[in-house]
Symmetry: C2
Subunit: 374 residues, 2 copies
């Protein structure tokens, strides 16, 4: 189940089996002049079928968008054993209902994805990465707005981490250093550009950084001079979860919120927990996706009681999503009502019963089990 079936070199449409490792697909495409439209920290082990089933997001989302847009076709095995051939290899198709969409992000609970057809963007020749410091979260937001206009079409990633996340990485990961010493800054932003002309891209990025420095939006910054330095910048952002695992217990929340309210939740959580925990905020700012991670020496139910249900209630009251890119799985199946209306959940249950009447596909996941069983 890990074979590449075809690549259309004019359109960039890749067809492969669901067991292909994301990084292997990216390496294959690189030689052919294309890239995968998604990139995750777990790329070395995750499989494309799982990426599609969980509607994975990741670092390239701000540029290439959702899998609901880039997946062109799927082959799915239904609960009754029927194979659904929806493996289209064309960009546009308006014949009947777009059923493949139901299987994107449904975590295997409606059918098992066995083959994937995906639109892959052309590989562009020039990539630049800047590591920047901002004094407050408002400056990060403002920087995002400005970058969408000034960097426009070349912006390919806009990530942020707070000072607490930086501390965690510096403390627990070997060989990592802060590219912007010796000052301590409150927030760090990574801006990546990808384009077809090195000179143009560098000019755009430099003009943007100069302007942002002059206007006070950024307090310091450095542009990676080579691929090794770029990797060392990414290591900081991508190493946060590894550092957290080394630090002890961790409570993880993957939330989507309106940008301007996003960091308020981190600050509120810090006040709630005081000295009992380290509260980290980082994530895909370009997509308004916050990773709120709470680190304690060991798991502690009284800490958990301070976090939940508060974190879900607060997110729900701001019309956010309690799972931006990681699905609901087992642990959050009963929490779906924080993000979805009762009528919507009811229709989900009806569809689950229609496609999997005997409840054999990934049981107890995604939807509240009590409702599915009724």
């Amino acid at each position: 189940m890990n074979n590449i079936i075809s690549l259309d070199k004019v359109s960039g449409i890749l067809v492969c089996e669901a067991g292909c490792i994301l990084e292997n697909l990216d390496s294959f495409l690189l030689n052919e002049g294309f890239i995968m439209p998604l990139d995750l920290g777990a790329k070395g082990s995750c499989q494309i079928g799982g990426n599609v089933s969980t509607n994975a997001g990741g670092l390239r989302y701000v540029r290439y968008g959702s899998l609901h847009g880039s997946i062109l076709g799927l082959e799915v095995v239904q609960a009754n054993g029927t194979v659904l051939d929806m493996l289209g290899t064309i960009r546009k198709d308006s014949t009947g209902y777009d059923l493949k969409q139901l299987f994107i992000g449904s975590e295997g609970s409606l059918g098992i994805i066995t083959k994937v057809s995906i639109l892959t963007p052309p590989r562009l020749s020039s990539t630049n990465l800047a590591f920047l410091a901002c004094k407050d979260f408002f400056s990060c937001q403002k920087l995002l707005s400005e970058s969408k206009r000034k960097l426009g079409e070349v912006l390919s990633a806009f990530e942020f981490l707070d000072n607490q996340s930086m501390d965690m990485v510096l403390t627990y990961l070997d060989g990592v250093r802060n590219p912007l010493p010796p000052s301590v800054h409150n927030f760090y932003v990574l801006i990546e550009t990808t384009g077809s002309n090195e000179t143009h891209d560098k000019e755009k990025l430099e003009a943007f950084l100069l302007h942002s420095m002059e206007s006070g939006l950024i307090s310091d910054g450095v542009v990676a001079q080579d691929i090794n330095q770029a990797s060392s910048f990414w290591r900081i952002r991508e190493g946060i979860t590894e550092a957290l695992m080394k630090a002890g217990a961790v409570y993880k929340y993957d939330l989507s919120l309106p940008v301007e309210k996003m960091y308020n939740l981190v600050e509120k959580m810090r006040i709630r927990l005081g000295q009992r925990a380290k509260v980290l905020g980082y994530g895909h700012l370009g997509d308004a996706n916050l990773h709120l991670n709470i680190s304690t020496p060991e798991y502690d139910d009284t800490v958990l009681a301070q976090i939940e249900p508060f974190v879900y209630e607060w997110t729900s009251s701001h019309r956010g999503s309690i799972s931006a890119e990681h699905g609901l799985g087992l642990m959050k199946a009963n929490k779906i009502h924080y993000s979805k209306s009762p009528e919507t959940v009811e229709l989900m249950i009806s569809i689950k019963k229609l496609l999997d009447p005997n409840r054999i596909l990934n049981p107890y996941k995604v939807l509240p089990h009590s409702l599915v069983q009724e």
Copy 2:
């Protein structure tokens, strides 16, 4: 039903009622620094609710992709009167099934869309348009491949028309002239770029055109010097349907096919019909979407018998779509099997019965009526 509800000026997320006219939304956004991710010839009269229901494509598709990617939320009234609030205003959400996708492109047959939340891209400052001539369809394809790499991130439209389409426009529309006289070329291509830096964009486009001229991919070409000239170029491409209506009867097919096989169908149709009809090929080459239009002085069943079912059979045998961006409606409901497998159609029927058991929503459309009624 034509009110704008909100616009988040950091993220570009627009929420509006379904009756808003597409062009009005685009004008509203223009002042706020954003644009709609879709643009159609019918923009002055079509409504966003209809655009979403029919999964409309159009001119910006090559850049901003499908509505399945850019629609963030919907409010839908179900057949039983229940209002489904799926009006999310966040980019990422992986809580349960993405039910709104079912209503995108289902032509009102599963529910009525009443409100729309959509991600709108930032308005970029620089737009350029080139009108080019190619000697054959292979050169058009090659030009597309090259433009995806060399123009990469600034490419915003790649349209083509054949010589027969140009003739039709020149004959039937007042005040339209061929920008590339006096030679007669076989194919014409419009390439639009949109970016954040006028100087960079012009440099990219000029270098690309020079290279394409030298390598013989294009035989002639002109870049619009101002907005009036750009409009006159677009008038040719967008005026084809109007010219066809003035010419007499027209048989229209909106097909999606692998790029390299796309124009073969036009040539085969010309041979089948001989002197009895004019056969035009044009469309969104960047998305492999062919508009095959056949013009006769008046409607003639013997001509139709030469066209159908051949056109559907040929498309089906090349795994194409018999409706790329116009839906199935009433006329093509019974033709769904040319593009979808029996198992997939069966599941569509089950979903139709689940959501609309009394068959009151847009009856006779999309799916074969005999199957829905069973």
